[in-house]
Each structure stands twice: as structure tokens, then as C-alpha cells.
Amino acid sequence: MARLIRTEKEVEGRYEEVWLVVEEDALEQWPAGARAIVGQPAVRIDGLQRARGEAIYTADLRLNGMLHAAVLRSPHARARIRHIDLAPALALPGVHAAAGPGEIEQLVDECDYQGVAVAAVCADTLAQARTAVAAIGVEWEVLEPLLDPDEAVRRGELLDEPRVRGRGDYEQGLAEADVVLTGEFRTAVVMHNSMETHQAVVQWVGDGVEVHISTQYIWGIRDEVAAGLGLPPDKVRVVCNYMGGGFGSKNGADDYTFIAAELAKRTGRPVKCALTRREENLAAGNRNATIQRLTVGAKSDGTLTALGGDFVNAVGWSGWSSSTEGPMQMLYACPNVKTTTYGAKINQPPMKAFRAPGFVEGTFGLESLLDELASKLGVDPLELRRLNYAETTADDRPFSGKQLLECYRRAEPHWERRHAVRARSTDTVKRGVGMASQIWYGGGGPPSYAWVRVSSDGHATVITAMQDIGTGTGTAMAQIAAEELGIPLDHVTVSLGDSARGPYAAISAGSSTTPSMGPAVRAAAADAKAQILEIAEQRGTPDAPLAEVVALLESGQILGKGARGPNPAGMQVLTFGVQVAEVAVDVETGEVWVDRIAAIHDVGRVINPLGASSQIEGGIIQGVGHTLSEERLHDPRTGEILTTSLDAYRLPTIADVPEIVSELIDQPDTHLTNLGSKGLGEPPIVPTAAAIANAIRDATGADVRRLPITRAEMLRALREAELRQREREKVGAPAGV
């Protein structure tokens, strides 16, 4: 039964009050613990297709008569087009159409960042299209770019009003403190660099349009394209069967989709518009740089009295100012907190959501400073975190479920290893162990729907127009349906990835796919099961196996439908965890090795332990990259992006990957849906940088203050620590404080 409610909806840490039509979630949760299928490790149901190359990604798509588009993008951080001439491009062989500034909204002549789309051409081959783009004549007026985020804040060049949040009396909290520490932390711009670049193939069919796209949100693309092209949403079909990574950068339709749509319309042919790797490193979004000026005040036993911070998000030309202050606001039970967050508008490519946006950056700053505090006070870092554990949210709401203390308990044996690890230090290679806590969202929410079809052979198909962005959520849905129906996993097929072939499904962002879709799939399977039980009752064999009952159907089918119910009212749904990193630092060359990371996370019930450990490993590997080697560089004067290839932009290689030990608490969140499951896409990347930085402090006494921890930064921090030590010896202070 549907009902209308007023509720808070959260995506990627941003909340809005919305009206939602939701259906009741009448099913009881399964008891805690692994079941016959749910909670058991399952290999991916589409693993073989992927491994054999049979999986057709958007990048693989070759439609009959398909043309290829190439895009002219601004090479300048800030420039105006005085004159543009598409004629030389149109005259070249193979070229079918070209569009310039103003012909569609996504093509502009006032360029406020490098990589903004200016013109596009489509041709028979990609090489022809690229040659044609190079032939477009452009007269640029290059303008002075604004690149420094602090300068943007000074000038008031902000995306929106500074966000001031807080509780208690911050100044009073500082006054009550026995010790006050401050620190400035910086994080660099890092790139999503998905294996499959951003792309779409668009063709007009009848009075509608078909969009094949590498996307995290089939239904969002449908609405965005419909609005952009002036079509009823049902005239837009969106297809994404397989997806080569998104990490938050593929939530919207973007310029390439509308360019393909326009050129397809003009030529009457399907058009593919795929970003090159170079474009991917310019115009496809990024995790923006941050500057965090943080203060912590505490009693001498470690009890926090005040937390404060000025956060500058170097957003780029557009986007949004993510919750870099979120961890400071939410992680600890500190009575006095004050944060101000600025979204600096600069002439750089816009940010996009990137795997726990804001929280990765903010956790690095906060958890590094807390570790400095522990070191200063001589308090064990794990005990400091327990001491300031938050029993409720800052506004006194209960958590729907929180197993962070259990995470800390399970971290103990990993934390204990620090004595043995340190003991392996040499004169030049220092070893240490560090930890950091994780807080993030991941509860998902309504609406989301699924259908389950059971045939007379006892096999079932889950039908929903959801995307599996490579995380294995399709497999999790099959497990949930099989568990509820009581049939083997390989008797379940999952049909997803096509808005014309299934009901609405939530965005795959904010770690929300499993917690949003899973309960809907279970409800649909339960609906089908109830119908089968009803037939069994009528037949007078209420205990007959499912296969025996459905065998009566012949060509008939049982059709079940299910919807995601509401989130628990008045509660906050969050995920928690802790990571313990072991590192080695070569103090002469600044080289850092991460040897081992133990990750303990609480995401409620685990559907597929194998998929979950893969997610943890993926998050940590990406986190190691952001911590040690990845950084988008630009020229400090012109703003030109310098790292546009995968040899200049340094993703971690397999040799950089530490031993990863993953543990999940696996306790259902008893207030959340019929599953008690939260998402795990983002949590594992949140604490990794801080855990590594804290391990470096443990090993060397050096306070790392910026990401990535390049050799230059590592050597700087070591020198600073050495100077501090010498100063201390001069004044005769006891060592080690």
C-alpha cells in the first residue's frame, strides 16, 4: 500500500527534504548470520561473460551506420572565442555534421575552464572526426585565470554562501581545553580515471531516442535527456548493461550525451561520443583539492572540548561544495564544534562526486590532527577514539545501527602488532602502525522497485532497470531473490540495465544500490512466494516444495512485485569502520611503503562476503593511490592541466598494493529495511589516507600535512620533525612528548 511521506533524502552526504511515495516494508528481517545463500560468498553471475569478452559495454557498442563524434575543447583555463569557423572541418572526407558554440547548450564560446566543450564533429571514423576537429579554425582571446582557491575566497568568488555549522560554544570549548592543536592540511585534485571513459551512443528511433551510456543512474539520465531534448520521459530509453567504472563521475548525462543526441538528430544515424583518455583527465570530473585549517582542543586525558575548521573546497568552475567538514561534525562526541566551508570558484574543471566526496579529504585532516593530539598527550590513539565515542548524532537522534565500538574491538589485534612492527625498524627504514576511523552514509532509500517472475521450471528472473556499475550488485540481487524463494542461486537470472525493461531503480551513488534495491528485490520475491504458497494451499499441499507447485503453471508465470520501504523515521543511517595501516619509511629518500592494511567495517548485514571483500580491496587500493602517488597537476600561471595521460597521472600499480585484511561486523541494522544492509562502495576509501599518515607519524615522528605524500612532502615532514626534536633537546624538554 503506497503512502505519501515527508522525509529527508540523502545522496553523497547532501540532504534535502522531499515528499516521497513509499510502500510499506512488511517483511521481518532474517535473523543475524549467514543463511543458505545470503551471507555466503558468491562469484559474480556475469563473471564469465566479462572474462570472455562477451559483455558488451557502451565502449564496445557498434550500431549499424554508427558515426563517431569528436569534441573540440578549450585548451585554455579561461578564454573567449572571438571567431570560430567550422567550414574546414565540414569539408573533410567522411564528415557528416558539425555543431559549434550556442547550437546546443553544452557548446559554449565563453570558456571558464580547460576542457569545456566548444564544438563537435561526427564522421564515419573516429580518426576522421579527430582530424576534422583539429581543422576547426578558432581565434581565442586568452584571459587571466583565477586559480588560487584562497584568493577566490578572499575575492568572494564562491559557488554559494559559506556553510557555517556547529553546536555548543566553540570559544568556550577552547578556553576549557588543556591543550589546543592546530594544523593546515591540503589534499590534491585526484581523478576518477575509470577504465571505460565517459561515453554515450545515441540514436533516434521513431518519435523517441535511445541512449546507450556508461552511467551510474539510468533513470536520472532518462529524466535529464528528456528535459534537455523536450521529450516525454517515456520516449527516452536508456541502456547500460555493463559498466566500466564510475566512482561518482557518471551520475549525469554530461556534454557527450547531448552532443551525440544532436549529431544523431542531424544525420539520422546513431552517433557515439566517447571521451579520450586525455579528455577523461580534463573534462570528466575530479575530487577537488581542499585546504583545511583545523583546530582541536582537549582535556589532558584526551576528552575533546572543541573542534573547529575552515575548509576551502577548490570546487572548480561549477559543481558543489562537498561535506569536507562532515567527519569533524559527526565522528566524535565533542560538545563544541564550529566549521565554515567555502566552495571556491576557480577556472579549473568542475568537480564531481568521487567515492565519499568530502569525507575522504575531511577524514585525512581530522584523523591526522586527532593522532597528533594523542601523540602530544601520550594517550593511546585507539583509546582516544573510544573516549570520544558518539552515542547519538550531534542533534541527539539515535543511530539506526552503530557497531563502531565492535570495530574498535576487532581492530585490537591489528593495533597490537605495532610493537613488533616498530621493532623491525633500521637506521634508514622506520616502521610504524597508524589507525583512523570511518564515518559515512550508505543507507540508500526509496523509491526503488523490482519484479520477480517465476516460471514452471522453478527458475526465477529478477527484473529491474537498475545498473550494476561493476560492483557486483546484480549478483547480490540474485542471492536475495534465491534466498527468499528458497531456490538455488543458479536458478535466478537478473535482467537489468534497460529503462524499457523494468521499473525504476535508484542511483548507484552514495553506496546506495544494495540498501535501496535489495529490500525491493526481497519484497518482490516474497510477493511471488506468497502467491505460490497460496496455490499450494488451494491444492491442499501447503508444504509442497516450490518446484512441485510451480510445475502446475505450464506456460503460466508467477509475477511478484516489490518496492523499497521508507528509512527509519527520526534516526540517522550511517556506516562505520576503522582501518589500521602498517608502513615503512625510508627516511633518506622519502619513500613510503604500505605493507598491510586491516579494514574493519560495519555496513549491517553482508549479502555477499566475496563481493564485499572486493569492494574493500578496491577502495583501499584507490585510497593508497590518493595517499601516495595520484595528483592532477596544473601550470601555476596558465592553469593548463599537465597530467593528462596515465603515465603522468600515477595510479597505483599492483606492486603498490599492500596486504589487505578485510573484516565485516555483519550485524543487520535492525531498524533498516527488511534486510538490515547498508552499502559498502564508499566506506573503505574514507580512512585509508589518515591511517597511512598516522602510521608514518608512528614510524618517524613526522607530521605529514598534504596528500599525496610525495617524496618531497615526506622529506619536508621529516626535516620539520628533526628540527622540532633539536629545539626540544636545546630547551631540555623530555623526549617523546
Binding site: 583539429a134 602517488s629 597537476l633 595521460s645
Partner: protein, 274 residues
């Protein structure tokens, strides 16, 4: 563009683009950084393989890294270069003749190395750039292998002459922007590697594998001398002089490279003494 297969050195024109492993020339072509009418496949005319102290210019890095006849410093320089896939394709001569990784040059900017008036790196982002001979052009030579051969005192045989490896390279100047002394159309054929008593190659990079050297240190002891050569610190492979690193002229953003170089040179010397 036409792809031709050379059957003799005479098939090579002065402006021909040469293809051996293709790991450098193909990306440069794709990026539009070099251009020409024809690409000449020289795999049929350039010697390959290893015979005593002679190495064919077309030998793959992957062969060198596992051949026990090759001095340790060269094997290690090969092993720490690029990735296994690239080493399976990349040739010895191609590695010696590769262009700088300076991002300004790789983005096609009209810098001094390309004949322009500015070194954008000196004023801009230069964390990976040269700490020696960087007053005109701050590009860093990326070849690990060249540093190893420089320390070994290797000699080169071309289709026209013999020269020392040191003579192959030149620091670019205002009136001549080239970084090698090869004449147009001249073909490297063989590399002659003198024996070493002891040798070692140490490399600092931004990740554990598949990165160009921030600093590479090749150290070789022969009965006559100890030589140390550095990769990634100057526009050419750099032979360390008597004054060691005192002559370094780091830029504001890359002084850390001098620090790393000092540590690695110290360790390399210690390894030779061990």
C-alpha cells in the same frame, strides 16, 4: 602515413621516422608531437641479441634484464624501467633515444627544447625536472638504461662511426636544441659494453613500478676507476663529477631530488664497497 620495411640502411631517408619497438614513436605520433610521411620499420636491419660484450641496438630490454652476461647495473636498470609489456617491446636504442617526459614538451608547447623562447617548467611545475644543467632547458632525461651505460663507459657503433655513449648526448643550447649528436638518418647498430668488476643501479620513483626515474643512480667499478652516472637529473644522462652533488642547481620545487640523489649515491658507493 606510409609504413615501409627497410632492407638496408640506404632505405632510410634523413627525415624518416624509425620504428623498432614502437613504445616511444607510436605514442608520440598519436599525440601529434612528431609527424612525417613515412614510418620505416628497421627491425630487419638493426642487430638484435647479445654476443659477448656486444649488444644489438634492437635487443629488447626484457632480454637484457635476465641475461647473466650483462653487468648487474644494466640488468637492474632494465628491470626497473617501464612495465613488463613495454620491456618486451622496447628496444635498447629506442630507450637511449627516447624524448624527455617534461609535461610541457609532451603537451606540445613551444618550449626551448622545441625551438621556442621559454622553458615553461623553470617558471612553472618542475618537481620532476632537472637539477643539473637546467638553466636553459630544465627537462630531465628519463632513460635508466642510458645512465647504466654511461657509468659502464659503453661505446656505440652506428652505420657511420664509433662514439662513446657520453658523446651521443648533448645539453641543448640556444643555437642547437638537439639532445643527441646523431646525424639525420644515422642508425645506431650496436652497443659495446666493457666489463665491470662490480656495479649497481638504484632508482627512486613515484610508485613501486612503471614510473620514470625521479633519480636513478648507476655506479660501476672497473679496475681503473669508479664511475657514477645519474638518470632523471639533467637534460641528458649525467656523469657525476668529482664534486659530486655540490654542483647541483635545483629549482625551487625540486631540491628534494638532490637529497634523494645524495642518499642513493652514498648507498651505491657502499654497495660497490661491500
Amino acid at each position: 602515413m606510409e609504413l615501409r620495411r627497410a632492407s638496408s640502411a640506404a632505405d632510410i631517408a634523413t627525415d624518416s621516422l624509425l620504428l623498432a619497438g614502437g613504445t616511444e614513436v607510436v605514442p608520440l605520433l598519436r599525440a601529434g608531437l612528431i609527424d612525417g610521411d613515412s614510418l620505416v620499420d628497421i627491425r630487419g636491419i638493426v642487430p638484435q641479441g647479445i654476443a659477448g660484450d656486444r649488444i644489438g641496438a634492437g635487443a629488447k630490454l626484457a632480454e637484457l634484464e635476465c641475461d647473466p652476461q650483462i653487468p648487474e647495473v644494466l640488468r637492474e636498470a632494465c628491470r626497473l624501467a617501464a612495465s613488463p609489456q613495454l620491456r618486451n617491446m622496447g628496444s635498447l636504442a629506442g630507450n637511449l633515444l627516447q624524448s624527455t617526459r617534461c609535461w610541457y614538451w609532451r603537451l606540445g608547447q613551444n618550449c626551448r627544447l622545441r625551438g621556442g623562447d621559454d622553458c615553461f617548467a623553470r617558471e612553472g611545475e618542475h618537481r620532476e625536472h632537472a637539477i643539473f644543467a637546467n638553466d636553459f632547458c630544465a627537462s630531465a632525461h628519463p632513460s635508466d638504461v642510458a645512465a647504466a651505460l654511461l657509468a659502464l663507459g659503453a661505446r656505440l657503433h652506428t652505420d657511420r662511426r664509433q662514439l662513446s655513449l657520453a658523446e651521443l648526448y648533448r645539453v641543448p643550447t640556444d643555437d642547437d636544441r638537439r639532445t643527441t649528436t646523431l646525424e639525420p638518418g644515422e642508425l645506431l647498430l650496436e652497443v659495446e659494453v666493457p666489463p665491470a668488476v662490480r656495479s649497481v643501479y638504484l632508482k627512486a620513483m613515484d610508485r613501486k613500478r612503471w614510473a620514470f626515474p625521479l633519480v636513478g643512480v648507476a655506479a660501476v667499478r672497473t679496475p681503473a676507476a669508479t664511475r657514477i652516472a645519474l638518470a632523471g637529473v639533467a637534460p641528458v644522462p649525467w656523469l657525476l663529477a668529482e664534486d659530486g652533488l655540490d654542483g647541483a642547481t635545483p629549482l625551487p620545487g625540486n631540491a628534494y631530488k638532490t637529497e634523494i640523489a645524495a642518499a642513493l649515491v652514498r648507498r651505491a658507493r657502499a654497495a660497490l664497497d661491500a
